[in-house]
Subunit: 338 residues, 2 copies
């Protein structure tokens, strides 16, 4: 059996401890400085505040200050479970912890700029982490609470180093956690970030054209049209970022977009935009104090769109989302453009 070190005791880091420990591995689940509350609760044998089920006794909970290089040294695989605001902490910690080469798998999603180029963590993180042997990106439709409850979930592990992705997936795969492999790590990472962004626009369609005869008041045709439009635009942007179009039409793209629309913070922002509110109104209201990853992605997508001729024609949904997020006005999506 192996030893798996998970950095970040948020919902996703904690959920990943479930298949890992079910597989018989020893798991070290280390909180960030922001995870003091869940760390204290789980150390006392309780559940993570946002999850339902207790962890196996094979999982050892560590506070940030308890985590040392000896833990990393003992680990066969390191998994980074933080969201994008935690990535600087994770990079810093990994540089202090890793004394020998290790594969590191990231669920963290985000896009960044390198000059004019738009890049993913698959490009930006490897040069920053001295002893990271291979970068593995984890994508696909996974609500952490459902994974933690062993609800069947499919994900995709991607790495240029196929053996590393296969090794990580081999440790993590469980009957309820089905894992595909991909070498298109840039595409998987790009889609994983873009899906948050597009979920804002697709979710806006769920509220913009209400159907009073349905229990949830949501019409279906506009949402399906926008879902399809998002898939096409995600494929185009994925390719521009250096990934394969096919990744947009697979687990990290349409699969994850499917699960992201209709739930979560990006979707709630979209619902507000669909009702005619501005981003700042929604963020000052029901999403006050929350991190909405699609907003950060919108800033990057905005600069990518400026590099594409006829972006407004080729990418009308992306254009409408970036305009609402960056210019702060109402979400105005001309349905006739798609």
């Amino acid at each position: 059996m192996a030893m798996i070190l998970i950095l970040g005791a948020g919902v996703m880091g904690t959920a990943l401890a479930v298949p890992a420990s079910d597989n018989g591995h020893k798991v070290l689940l280390a909180g960030t400085p922001l995870d003091a509350v869940p760390v204290a609760r789980m150390k006392a044998g309780g559940t993570h505040p946002k999850l339902d089920a207790p962890l196996s006794e094979k999982v050892t909970i560590l506070a940030d200050e308890e985590l040392g290089a000896e833990h990393a040294e003992a680990a066969d695989l390191v998994v980074v479970g933080v969201s994008s605001p935690g990535i600087a902490w994770a990079v810093n910690r990994l540089n202090g912890l890793l004394r020998s080469k290790k594969a590191v798998a990231f669920v963290t999603k985000g896009l960044d700029r390198e000059g004019e180029r738009i890049v993913t963590y698959a490009e930006t993180l490897p040069p920053q982490i001295a002893n990271m042997e291979s970068f593995i990106g984890i994508g696909g439709p996974c609500i952490a609470r459902e994974l933690a409850n062993r609800c069947p979930t499919s994900s995709i592990y991607a790495s240029r180093d196929r053996a590393a992705a296969a090794f990580a997936a081999g440790l993590m795969r469980a009957p309820f956690y089905r894992l595909a492999l991909s070498e298109d790590v840039t595409g998987v990472e790009a889609c994983a970030a873009l899906k948050n962004f597009f979920a804002i626009g697709v979710s806006a369609m769920q509220t913009r054209y209400p159907d009073r005869l349905r229990a949830d008041c949501q019409s279906r045709n506009p949402t399906a049209a926008a879902f399809n439009q998002a898939a096409q635009e995600m494929a185009l942007l994925c390719e521009r970022i250096g990934g394969s179009r096919a990744s947009a039409f697979d687990l990290a793209g349409i699969g994850d977009l499917h699960v992201t629309v209709g739930g979560g913070r990006n979707s709630r922002l979209g619902h507000g935009l669909g009702l005619g509110h501005t981003v700042s109104e929604v963020m000052a209201g029901e999403l006050g104090g929350e991190t909405v990853e699609g907003i950060d992605t919108a800033r990057i997508v905005g600069s990518l769109l400026r590099q594409i001729d006829n972006a407004a024609t080729l990418l009308p949904l992306a254009t409408a989302i970036t305009t609402a997020v960056l210019d702060g006005g109402a979400f105005s999506f001309d349905f006739q453009r798609i």
Copy 2:
């Protein structure tokens, strides 16, 4: 302005009269022998029993016995709006009606066998209808009631005769009815039929793993995984039938699958299967007397699967659906296979 003859006064035929008449065209909406009730109601100025909004006065309602060759002769475009059980009536009527070459657009979806080959209406109907100048297939995510209410809807008009598809789309396109064009008519037709079939399996996931903490009790990860799996399998089957994989990842495939899962008869059958009922139990119960198009498609897909090596491995979701439908047992989908 043009004259458009619509055959079939069911919900879809009637809904298509809305963009057609909004565009200023004269519309003849002719009922089948089974449409006596809606025809009588709409002739009296009322609405179709399953729709909300009255039709424009530009729409003339005809009972089956009132429809004659002079109506077809005056039409610039004929649209067949029946579902698959009505296709024999439509073919028979078209052969009696069409005295000169006309383009005919079909919303009817289905697969058929020609010996060992699986074919779509794009292959089977043209030889059966003497004066059909071009076959146009209509696909994409369109709930008829929403279209009739002018809720934004995207569809795709496909024909080997691109000019014919463009002509039909040009007559029908409206601000709320956005139309893409495709030359992959076999792919669009195949996907339009397959999406009903796959919606059964994806919808089964909505009920199989309930999440008691959600208002709708539906977990999300298994459905998204199955949606993605359905898209991949639809692409593979579409290619086998002679269409392009790309059509599965566009409006007629993922777009229409998106709208079909969670609503309609195929989905309700899936929900029953997800709860452990057999097809015959569901069809004897809440779906008694209803046509579930995915069941007919399952018979054809079953024979297609028998021609594919390793079908159970390559197409686990299709295999599980056909097994449940054809063998009559419980729906048993091994999530570990995907």
